[in-house]
């Protein structure tokens, strides 16, 4: 898909489209710059789609939260492992990595949730469940 003539890649986690970088090709592994998800590039018709290579695996969520924190300059505290356990339990029971502290199992609350991607950590110093914290 192109927006104003620019190729974009659809991320199935944050459901946003990010810029296709020059040199990328089908099958490449890239990181979504919006949510930190690792994706394999696939061309479907005329649209570039990012495929989750390890959908539902513990490594997927661990890599995603680490990448997201790295991209945004956020840090974790000693609750990280317990919150990851909660995310893994959410995936087991409700089919994806939804926020462990919320009741709603909808795409906007897949970790990192939409309010977090919208700047909650910048405003409040942390995300809703306290996984991501604003670094110094």
């Amino acid at each position: 898909m192109t927006i104003h003539g620019e190729a974009r890649v659809y991320c199935p986690v944050c459901q946003a489209r990010f810029k296709f970088a020059p040199g990328w090709k089908e099958g490449d592994e890239v990181i979504c710059p919006i949510c930190g998800q690792k994706l394999t590039l696939r061309l479907t018709g005329s649209e570039w789609i990012g495929e989750r290579p390890e959908k539902g695996a513990e490594t997927e969520i661990r890599e995603r939260v680490d990448e997201y924190a790295r991209l945004k300059g956020y840090v974790f505290n000693d609750m990280k492992e317990e919150l990851l356990e909660g995310l893994i339990a959410k995936n087991r029971r409700f089919g994806d990595f939804y926020c462990p502290c919320r009741m709603e199992h909808v795409p906007e609350f897949m970790c990192p949730c939409k309010p977090t991607r919208g700047g909650d950590v910048e405003r409040s110093g942390k995300c809703y469940c306290g996984l991501f914290w604003k670094g110094r």
Binding site: E82, E85, G86, P100, C101, M103
Partner: protein, 83 residues
Amino acid sequence: MAHKPKVYALTTCPYCKRTRRFLDEHKVAYDCIEVDQLDDAKQDEVLEEIEKMTGRRSFPVVIIGSEIIVGHDEDKLRKALKL
């Protein structure tokens, strides 16, 4: 204590687990409702109840007498339970 404390928790929430662990460690008998394990109709009913009591849908919620504690807060738990 006239009534047993009541805890509303999510099974995936680590703060809820800490609150329950705290009560267990202090040998406090309590009733726990695991909200995410309820069927849809009961869940809606309980969530409305929680929202009416606390003004939000945050967990855990602990009710000790007339005291309502939202979130894991050991100081507030100690005070309310006179520990």
